[in-house]
């Protein structure tokens, strides 16, 4: 399958990645090779075969609905790249109506 520049841009956007121009070119070629390898699957007749996504052998058992394994706020925020008191600091995501 042909992987063109616009497909790379679309995937970049979906995956939230930004590739350098030379990385884009390399990835274009690599994805084409990988998709050629993967195309082998199309030889198989899978008409009517039910897809199998997961192998867990039983319905997932749930824990009782009791709070446990909780952490103090300081610990939960302990790995935050930027924090302010008990909050993660992130760039502004809403603009004020007057802006």
């Amino acid at each position: 399958m042909k992987v063109d520049d616009s497909l790379i841009s679309r995937l970049e956007d979906l995956a939230r990645l930004e590739l350098a121009p030379e990385e884009r070119l390399r990835l274009q070629a690599e994805l084409e090779n990988i998709l050629d390898m993967v195309a082998k699957m199309q030889e198989l007749d899978t008409e009517g075969v039910e897809p199998l996504a997961h192998l867990a052998q039983h319905p997932a058992p749930l824990r009782d609905d009791e709070p446990e394994g909780c952490w103090p706020v300081g610990q939960a925020l302990g790995q935050a790249p930027v924090r302010h008191r008990d909050f993660f600091v992130v760039p502004k995501v809403v603009s004020s109506p007057n802006a």
Partner: protein
Amino acid sequence: MTVPPDLPAIQAALRGGNLHCRQLVEHYLEQAERNRALNIYLEVFREEALAKASESDARLAKGEEPGRLFGCVLSIKDVLCYAGHRVSAGSRMLEGFESQFSATAVERALAEDAIILGRVNCDEFAMGSTNEHSAFGPTRNPVDPERVPGGSSGASAAAVAAGTCLASLGSDTGGSVRQPAAFCGVFGLKPTYGRISRHGLIAYASSFDQIGILSRTATDAALLLQVIAGPDPYDSTVSLEPVPELEPLLRDDSPRRIAWLALGEGQGVDPAIAEAYSNLQGELEKRGHRLEPVQIPLLNYLVPAYYVMATAEASSNLARYDGLRYGHRTARAGDVGELYRKSRTEGFGAEVKRRIMLGTFVLSASYYDAYYRKAQQVRRLIKRELDRLWENCDLLLLPTTPSPAWPLGQMTDDPVGMYLADQFTVMANMAGLPAISIPFGYKDGKLPLGMQLLGPAFAEPALLALAHQLTGKSS
């Protein structure tokens, strides 16, 4: 110092006072130091390991009954959380990250008095077959430092092969425990999907990922599995199947019906491996097992299906690395969209980006049915085919890899070549079945080769017993 050959022998020496835990840890630390150039350890927990060893010695001297894993000195792959210790998945994305809790497997091993010597390198987010895709440099193969140790648990295999620890905990998504075990000449056990809790294992492809064990003997793998396997309220995909007492089962030498995979022209198997493979068949027959050849026509479709599904799951799992709550955050972002993009772009290496892009592609609306759905159907077919196989035989024998360890740098520009080298290992992950790689033979008298046994779900006792029979010199 010569370390006794396996954990029961180590424990007997410790109990008899001929050996002290501290001596043992000092020995492993020395070995780790001596093999520094191989870049196995990302971090050695020196003082802590020594303190724990002294504590174990003191408790034993007082006559206290130690835990089942006393004297078991482990290394852990850099994808397993250990509370209060760093874990980075071989990635800049998690550089400096500290675990806030321990993986269930790690916690259970510690509770039985195992000592963790350090954290070992791996391919970034466990994606790779060579250990060259680590942000912290490649690990080298102790057998031949110009060759790769395999991957992604390459440094785990190297750590065991170089004698820097008794065993190592790794993870296996498409062969990441078995292939490096084969490349370095040690045992590599990938248990049944769900046999060991994945709580605290950094996720790559959740429907395939399984914690595995790299060790010098089948006995040690059994003793470790015994402790770390079993139900866990923190992993809803873990199996509720009880874990049998494994050590006595190692001595089960009842004759088995073993199907062996007939190798075709297309598989590109190294002649040394083909020879060892046929020797092993002879050896098994001599021991009273019944062998018969089997064809698995789906074999050539498994690597394609595996890479579609695993990358799809990876693209979803790795969406969590957004630079907001933990992990790398770019210093150059204006708005939140840019923060995501730049943090991820700076944090992930080339192989991880490649797999995220592929996974994103196969999950995208226009291609979902042709790729992702198709791959899931292949998965159903291989599961069915293997289920049918178990009606007439107990285990399946096949090589672990088509070739021994290759030179560093050989596969770095050839992702397709690297992926195809997984042709014999992905089957166990596609079908969620247990498999073990057994060191068996050498190429040119030097490069280790691995042979693989695969069984139905929860056949770990049979796999370990056979591995033990073939190689065991246990105490």
